[in-house]
Amino acid sequence: MNGLFKNIGLFLGVLFLSNCSSLAEPLAELNIGNKYSETADWLILESQTEAPTTGIIFYPGALVDPHAYLSWLDKLINSNKKLLIVTVKMPANLAVLNSQGGMKVIKNYPEITRWIVAGHSLGGTMAAQLISKHPDKFKGLIFLASYPANNTLKNWNGAILSIHASNDGLSTVSDIEKHKTDLSTATVMNSITDFHLPLQNKTHYFEIMGGNHAQFGSYGVQKNDFVATISKEDQQNQVIGIITHFIENL
């Protein structure tokens, strides 16, 4: 009987240690200016004044509280008031457990005519899985420090944007490089406006110099990440700028 309890304790201990999520910054410190609401499944951001026409479904990184991205997603709406951004909450904060969760969002907003799916880290990989299963539902895919698990999107005719950071210790520059062959024709950007039109059938790559993995969100330091040499605000402002231009050209 004692052996059984030891095994149960070990099992719970492993689960315990492997399921701690990183908390976001407190909501009050985020100064969200746009219309923000929350359901059991989603965090929803949209302009207070304009009706959205383009929707972004956002998948958070693994074991990261979904509120950790609200700060820059709110600023992204300031750059484009026609955006609706829905962050999908994941069971145990693991996107791999709900990779198709974005389809429920699309069904809930029939008035949105253009959908993009974006994800950070594992969230990006699962965003790619969502498009693999429903390629006709989406116009664009945005990877943040992420890459696909396979090459099912190699011939997808949508637009792909891949933003990564030079000091990322988890999705390293060489990881991103290695997976370029899994996606459509690679185009390396030299500035945040350096898009080669039309965007369809291409994957645009942008490297944020001095940025790291954790600064794509606001959840503190991440184990095994490298030290960033630019501020979180600087990194996130670059992300906002690139995505804004990407959507304008879509």
Binding site: F16, S22, L23, P26, T39, D65, K89, N93
Partner: protein, 171 residues
């Protein structure tokens, strides 16, 4: 530090009853949402895996002490459970059962775990597979709250309809 405290608390509860307890139960639960905060909101809402130790107080009443890991909308909860279970035999093979339980534990967040608690009441039927083993299916209501999560999100409590399948072994 608090993390260690809660783990020790859970296992002290379990070992306290080890020499007197009569049954060990393993259960899995899936939850269907009813309320999210103050809003009526339905849909699948995670589940849990738990292990309970049952000690007989009276022929039809048992105390339940256990540990549970549950998937909730803010992530993962780990809790120690304490409750009462009432059983009424309706035939040599079948029982009615009712269990009320409180969960005291933590929401697993790195650097800063948050206190989480819950209350559940479920009832259902049990089938005796053999003199020593029992299979049960129950449903009812389950309330989960993480008060300190209000600093990070707008919804800090949920009311769900759980469906639990449990396998119990007489020791």
């Amino acid at each position: 530090m608090r993390r260690i405290y809660y783990l020790i608390f859970t296992f002290v509860l379990i070992f306290t009853f080890e020499n007197q307890a009569q049954e060990l139960s393993v259960n899995i639960q899936t939850r269907y949402g009813i309320l999210a905060g103050n809003s009526f909101e339905t849909g699948g809402r995670g589940g849990s895996f738990g292990i309970d130790y049952l000690y007989q107080l009276k022929p039809s009443l048992q105390t339940v002490v256990g540990a549970e890991m549950s998937l909730v909308p803010w992530g993962t909860n780990l809790s120690g459970n304490l409750g009462l279970k009432y059983t009424k035999e309706i035939s040599p093979k079948w029982n009615w059962t009712l269990k009320v339980e409180t969960q005291q534990g933590i929401a697993l967040f790195r650097m800063n775990e948050l206190y989480a608690w819950g209350l559940s009441g479920i009832g259902g039927i049990e089938y005796k597979l053999s003199p020593k083993s029992i299979l049960s299916i129950c449903t009812g209501l389950s309330y989960t709250s993480c008060p300190a999560y209000k600093s990070y999100g707008l919804i800090t409590n949920y009311l769900d309809l759980p469906v639990e399948i449990a396998y119990r072994l007489k020791l």
